[in-house]
Structures are given as C-alpha cells and as structure tokens.
C-alpha cells in the first residue's frame, strides 16, 4: 500500500448530498396526529393586484419540499403574506408558490413542462447540462447585471461558471456551503477507551486499517466497520474519496463515466486506470479479506447508523455536506449513543449542482429574475417560504437581531401539526446565509452560518471547480460505460472483487464502450472553458 496520502476532489451532481438541509437543528417533538389541521387561507391568490403605476407580474415558483408537502390551502396563506409584503415594498413581482414533492420533483416538473403546465422558476436537481441541451431553460445572461445584480454582489460572479454554456448563463446556483467532509463515526466509549482518541483527532486511511484491526481483534462478533455498496471507506463511490494526509496526496476530479483528472492539472484521463483507483480498491479488498466489513457488502441494504444502533456494527464512514458538524454528539437519536466524528479527509469544495432556472415557457424572464433575486437578498420572502405564516406556522422568539430572526414552532405544535412547514427545503432555496435560525426543543439554538463560511474558505478545490461536463455528444458511450460500471464498480469498491483480476477487466470494458471518445470530449470542453 503506497505511503502517499490520498486526497481527492470531485465535481459531482449528487442529489442526496445536495438536498442536505442547512446545519441548524430543528425541533420535531413527538409525532402525534400527523394530519394537517384546518387551514384558513382563502382561495384567491393575490397575484393580480394592481399597484399605482405598473401592473405587477406574477411569477410561478415551483420548489421541492422534503418529507412534508404543504397542502395548497396552506401555501395560499403564505403567498398572501408574501405578496402583501411585496406590494408594500413596491416590488413589481408577485409570487405564485407551488410546493412539489421532492421525491418526484424531476419527473413532475418534466411532465409539467412537456404537458404545457405553467412553469416559470424551478430548480434543476442534477443533470443541468441535459436541461440546457433539450432547451428546457432560458438564458438569463441579460439580467445578471440588472435584476440579479444584488445577488451577484453577495455571491460573487465565479459561481456562475457552473451554469455557463457557450457564453450564456442558464441558471443561478444556490448559494450555500458546498463543502463535503468524510468522517469515521464510532461510539465515544470505544474511541476513547480502545483506541485512545481524543476529540479533534483525525486519521488517515493507512491508520484506519490499523484501528480496524484493533477493533476486529477486540470484538470479533461484531462488524468492525459497516459499509454500503461502494462505501468501503471511500465514501459514496471512489470519486468522492478523500483520504487525509500530508502534503502529497491524490487530488482527483471525477466527471462521471470514469473520466476525470488526477492531480492539480487539467489533463483528462481514465480514472479507473490510475494508481489512485488501484490503491482504493486494494485497501477495500484487504479490509474485506481480513473480515473488517460485513458480508455481502456489495448488496447490503442496511444503513451504517442503523447497524450501529443495533449493536451489529462498531463504526461506519459517512460524508457530510454543507456544514461542519460537531465532533461529538451526545444526544443522538440516530445512533442511540454518544458518538465521535473523526475526520478522515479535509473538506472538499463541491458544487451542489443545484441551480435555479427559468423554464422555457416563462413569458417574462425579467420578472422571473427579479423574483429569483428575492431568494438571495430578502430574508422575509425566503424565510416565509421556509417557515410559513407568522403566528400560524412559526413564532419569533425575539432572540434574533432585527431582520435576522430566530424562530420556533408555536407552543405545543410539532412540524406535522402546523399547516405549513418547509424547513427541509432550506439550503436549497437560495441564499442559505439569510435563513433564520430555528430554535431547538431544549431552548438552545446554533448559528453556524459564519462558521460554515469560514469552513468553506479552508476547503480544498478541484483545479476545474465550477466546470460542468456536457455529455450530449457522447451519450451512447456514457450509456455503455454506465452498464459496465454497474457490473464491476460496486464489487471493486466494496472489496469483494480482487483488484488485480478485475481492474484490468473494468479498464478494458470501458475502453470497449468508447471511453476514449468521452475523454477526448471532456478535454475539448475543459480547454475551451478555461
């Protein structure tokens, strides 16, 4: 096993990581009735009120909601509050809110667009390049320096690199802490007693192997580390692998289909043919052979934290997106015990791939951009979408700082009781840093926003940070590679397959599927992008 430390960085459009809500704790309480109470919103939307001089334009906003999708009545109530505010402010736009279930968000929006329903502003949750190519979105280049200028002042112009194609800008990325870190999670007792860890300890993958051995010897009946397919410690898939270390490490940028960049350069290569990949698979294989991980690793269905809670496994590795969690967690219902988070990698800057876009069917792009601007600059609008109507859905604790409030659920209510609750949408809505902080059930609150910003500053970036690979010209090759990957990748990354035998097979198979063409295409695009 090579001595050199490994670190990798990735451009991944990963939906699950992208949907991470922002890092503040939210109270939930007990799940009682579960049904929504009667809401008192009227049926009329305030969309067509005329102001003194100019008729305001109504912009339809279709946003995803996780877990809880508010009913239409409840949403209407929120609309009224927002539109009244906008009228008082003299704004030229009104909002028509549409809460869409995040589970089917892409399909639903797709259907609406092709079926002729009105879609103005919506989010692209992955696959941004395809959306541009099939003409689902309209360019907003003209309005960047007009309606969206206040937003750009806050976010800076660089983030637009992710949504620029052929000189036109097609979307506005969400402004949040797009950082990914990987942690080895294990019970505090074991960490302190058996391994002698202290809070703040970090490990490298080499060291990890040693620690796993200790655990395996000491607790032979339990799984030393529970892994998910491909999550042998190189979390999610090898592309997100980040193994902490000293000055020399692998810096890997994955563009999908096994194509990417190794190191701090811009030369595109076959990632499956690199030393990096060999190292990763070999480590995984060793762990599997030595019995540190669960059997049937490549098909296992249970989550690491569930296995840990049941006492079946001793630890697992997981990636955190968006924020820097506490290093130990005392009151943890997920694990049922106190756990320690041991970073195994430095933070990596990872664009979320979540972009706000203007749908091709929008009649007034300027108004849409004005509405979009509100999500990044106006705390009241943003947070009303997240929290609902004051008094009905949330209350101001008064602990905040003027516009920047700290809110909580009304007395005695849980998130399932109030008519409108879209807190889970925070972090993908617009500007994460103007979100209000939510009060925890124990009366405390955490404002991690500044800390997150700092955290992001220190994270490592890929040499082509912001670049999005457009696979339109190599679709067939991507499809072929995809099937090859589904055959070998899971087994290799889980350590079930012997890398010496199977990596050559994988490399040959992706070559046969036409990966060289993909590499050439990616190189071409990157050279043009710079």
């Amino acid at each position: 096993m090579k001595k050199c430390k490994i670190l990798s960085v990735l451009l991944v459009l990963c939906l699950s990581l992208g949907l991470i809500a922002c890092g503040s704790k939210e109270s939930a309480g007990n799940d009682n009735a579960g049904s929504t109470t009667v809401e008192n919103g009227s049926k009329d939307s305030a969309g067509s009120e005329t102001t003194a001089s100019k008729d305001p334009v109504t912009v339809k906003v279709s946003y995803p909601c996780l877990v809880i999708v508010p009913s239409e009545d409840a949403v209407v109530g929120v609309e009224e509050v927002i539109n009244k505010y906008l009228e008082e402010k003299g704004s030229g736009v009104r909002l028509d809110l549409e809460a869409v279930d995040a589970n089917n968000y892409n399909t639903t929006i797709d259907m609406k667009q092709i079926g002729g329903d009105q879609v103005d502003l919506y989010m692209s949750l992955g696959g941004f390049a395809d959306q541009v190519n099939s003409n689902k979105v309209l360019p907003i280049t003209d309005y960047i320096h007009t309606a969206l200028q206040p937003t750009i002042d806050i976010t800076g112009e660089e983030i637009l690199g992710a949504t620029t194609f052929n000189g036109q800008i097609y979307g506005m990325p969400v402004y949040r802490t797009d950082v990914c870190t990987y942690y080895w999670i294990l019970p505090t007792t074991i960490a302190e007693n058996d391994l002698g860890f202290e809070v703040g300890k970090t490990v490298t993958i080499d060291e990890l192997t040693g620690y796993l051995d200790v655990l395996h010897q000491k607790y032979p009946d339990q799984i030393a580390m529970a892994v998910r397919p491909g999550m042998n410690g190189m979390p999610n898939n090898f592309c997100l692998s980040a193994i902490m270390g000293g000055p020399d490490y692998y810096l890997v940028t994955d563009l999908g289909s096994g194509v990417g960049i190794e190191g701090n350069n811009t030369t595109v290569v076959n990632l499956y043919d690199t030393d990096y990949f060999k190292d990763v698979c070999q480590t995984a294989y060793d762990w599997n052979q030595k019995g540190y991980v669960n059997k049937d690793v490549s098909v296992v269905a249970e989550e690491g934290y569930d296995l840990m809670k049941a006492g079946r496994a001793l630890s697992y590795i997981i990636g955190y997106g968006g924020c820097n969690p506490q290093v130990t967690d005392e009151s943890d219902s997920t694990h049922g015990m106190s756990v320690m988070y041991v970073p195994i990698a430095p933070a990596i800057n990872m664009p979320s791939g979540l972009n706000w876009c203007v749908s091709y069917g929008c009649k007034n792009v300027e108004a849409a951009c004005e509405a979009l601007n509100l999500f990044y600059t106006d705390p009241f609008v943003m947070n009303s979408i997240l929290y609902g109507v004051e008094g009905r859905d949330y209350e101001d604790t008064g602990l905040g700082n003027g516009e920047d409030k700290i809110v909580k659920l009304p007395e005695g209510k849980t998130m399932f009781d109030v008519p409108y609750y879209a807190f889970f949408t925070c972090g993908i809505m617009g500007n994460e840093y103007i979100d209000w902080v939510a009060l925890q059930p124990d009366g405390t609150y955490e404002d991690r926003r500044e800390a997150n910003k700092e955290f992001q500053k220190n994270a490592v970036s890929s040499p082509i940070y912001g670049f999005t690979f457009d696979t339109a010209n190599v679709k067939n090759e991507v499809a072929g590679i995809s099937t090859v990957e589904s055959q070998y990748l899971s087994g290799l990354l889980s350590g079930e397959l012997d890398p010496n035998e199977y990596i050559p097979k994988l490399v040959q198979a992706v070559k046969d599927a036409g990966q060289d063409a993909v590499i050439a295409e990616a190189q071409r695009q990157i050279d043009a992008w710079r």
Binding site: N106, D110, Q113, I114, G127, D130, S134, N135, K136, G256, S257, N294, K295, D296, S298, V299, V300, A301, Y360, T471, K475, N476, V478, A479, G480, S482, T483, S486, Q487, Y488, L489, S490, G491, E496, L497, A509, D512, A513
Partner: protein, 304 residues
C-alpha cells in the same frame, strides 16, 4: 329479393352490437391511440421549447446505444430464454394447479387453498427482494440455519440465479395465473365427465381428452399474448430480487435492466422510448407470425 332482404336485416342487427362496443372503442381511442404520437419520441431529439411535434427527427440514432452495445446479444438471449422457460413452465404449472384445484372443487379445503396460492402475487416485488435476501443473504436463513459454517455467497455466483429467479417467478405467478384456467374449467359441462366416467375413462384420460381440448383456445390465447411480450421482462424480478448486484450480470441482465442501468445517468426520454419501441416491434412481429401459424392449424384459437 329474399336474399337482399335478409342481407339488409343482418346489417341492421350490427347497430346494437356497435353501440355496445362504443364505450370501449371511445376509451381505447382516447387512452391508447391518441397518445400513440408519443412513440415518435423514440425517433426524435426531444426539444422542450418545440414540444414533441416540433422536435426534429433523428432516425435511429436513439437506438444506437442498444444495438451497438457489446452486450446486445447477451441481453436478448437472457430475456428470451427466461421468457421461454417462464411461458412454458408457467403455463404447465398454472394448468396443473387449475386441474388440481378444480378436482378439489367444492371441498372446504379448496376454499382455503385458493386465496392462499394467490397471495404471493400481491406482495410487491421490492418486498419479495428483501424476503429473498432474508433467505440468501450473508446472514440469511440458509447460510445461518441450514448450512452453518461459511455458507455460500449467493449474490456473487451467477450460475445459481436462473434457478432462483425462475423459482421466485413461479412462486409469485403460478397461483394467480391459474385463476383464468379455473374459471374456464368451471364452465365445462359436468355431464361430459359423467359420460366419460361411464365409458370407463381414467382421470388422466378425462383431463387429456375433455378438459384440455375445451380450454385449449384459452391456453392458446395466453400463450400468444405472452409471445407478444417475449422481449420484455419483469423489471422488479431481474433488478431488485438480485439486489442490483453487478456480479450476477451475465445471468440476470435483461433488456429492461440494461436500459435502466445505461440510462441512469443520462435521464434521456428518447433513448428509453427507443428501447421500448424496439421491444414492442419485435414482440409484434413474433405474435403476428405465431398467429398466422395458429390460424392455419387451429383457427378457433387464433387471436384474430
């Protein structure tokens, strides 16, 4: 004169028949024929701003990922072989069950057995996948309770899976599939059996000479319909029951799972539509040929 009158009379009689068919015709047009324009998506490069009708034609380009694939023959082979086994074996099993259930007829036990054999069909295939995993998994029942010791790593040995999948398929479908045969058998005149018994026919002879010939058209119908779907497969059975394991590729990959895995990253409606059109056309050709054959041999049993 007489013949013209008779002809007129018969043609007038069509009216009530057509009227009876009207709701069905209307529904089929709205639900099935009007949306057929969607098939063109397979041959177009879908441009949302132009809509389905305005998008440009690209011929067979969307089919390339399927035809050019190295695995093309493998997935076709898998799909068709499994289907042949399923169709033949499944028909035999369902018939056998139907015969036995009819035999047990009005006995109390039949009332209990009949719903039970249909239960497996009601469980969603995802749950079935978990249950199979409960049996075959690393810590599953077979490895733990039956085999003790190291056990077999089922999910990485492709050679077992044709049997496993066939077993699961029969478990799920044989009982449910027997219902239509039971229904048809229950319509057979009991008097025929009585007469046969008097002539000294054994049970097997009765089945062979009375039951089967009478329900033959129904069997042929089911066979022909299955042939039409011979290029398709039960997606849940082939993707989820093997827990999406790459190692089992060679024996569990069918056209449907291939398309799914290929297009996972691409999200391309045109390409998946192309695959489905391919399956439909192939199935259609086969059915038309089979139907012609059947029509020559046994006209009553043909589809049309």
């Amino acid at each position: 004169m007489e013949s013209v009158k008779r002809a007129k009379k018969r043609r007038v009689n069509y009216l009530p028949l057509i009227l009876m068919m009207l709701p069905g015709i209307a529904y089929m047009i709205v639900n099935n024929y009007l949306p057929m324009f969607g098939i063109t998506i397979a041959f177009k490069n879908l441009d949302y701003s132009k809509g389905i009708f305005g998008s440009e034609w690209v011929g067979l380009k969307n089919f390339e990922f399927l035809f050019r694939s190295k695995d093309f023959f493998m997935i076709i082979r898998n799909t068709i072989l499994y289907n042949i086994v399923f169709i033949l074996g499944g028909t035999f099993a369902s018939l056998a069950i139907a015969v036995m259930m009819t035999e047990l007829g009005k006995h109390k036990i039949a009332k209990v057995l009949q719903p039970i054999i249909c239960f497996p069909n009601m469980i969603s295939i995802v749950i079935v996948a978990y249950l199979v995993y409960g049996f075959l998994g690393g810590d599953g029942w077979i490895n733990n309770t039956l085999l003790k010791g190291d056990g077999i790593s089922w999910y990485s040995k492709p050679e077992y899976w044709p049997f496993i999948l066939t077993l699961v398929h029969f478990w799920k479908g044989a009982g449910y599939g027997s219902i239509i045969y039971i229904a048809t058998m229950s319509g057979i005149d009991v008097g025929l059996y009585e007469a046969a018994k008097l002539d000294g026919a054994t049970k097997m002879q009765q089945i062979r000479l009375i039951t089967i010939p009478i329900i033959r058209p129904m069997i042929m119908l089911m066979l022909l319909l299955s042939i039409g779907r011979i290029f398709s497969s039960d997606f849940g059975l082939f993707l989820q029951v093997p827990m999406d394991s790459g190692a089992l590729y060679n024996t569990t990959q069918t056209i449907d799972t291939y398309v799914y895995r290929a297009l996972m990253k691409l999200n391309d409606v045109s390409m998946s539509s192309a695959a489905s059109v391919f399956q439909s056309i192939m199935g259609f050709i086969l059915v038309m040929l089979s139907n012609l054959l059947v029509r020559k041999v046994d006209p009553q049993s043909s589809l049309f």
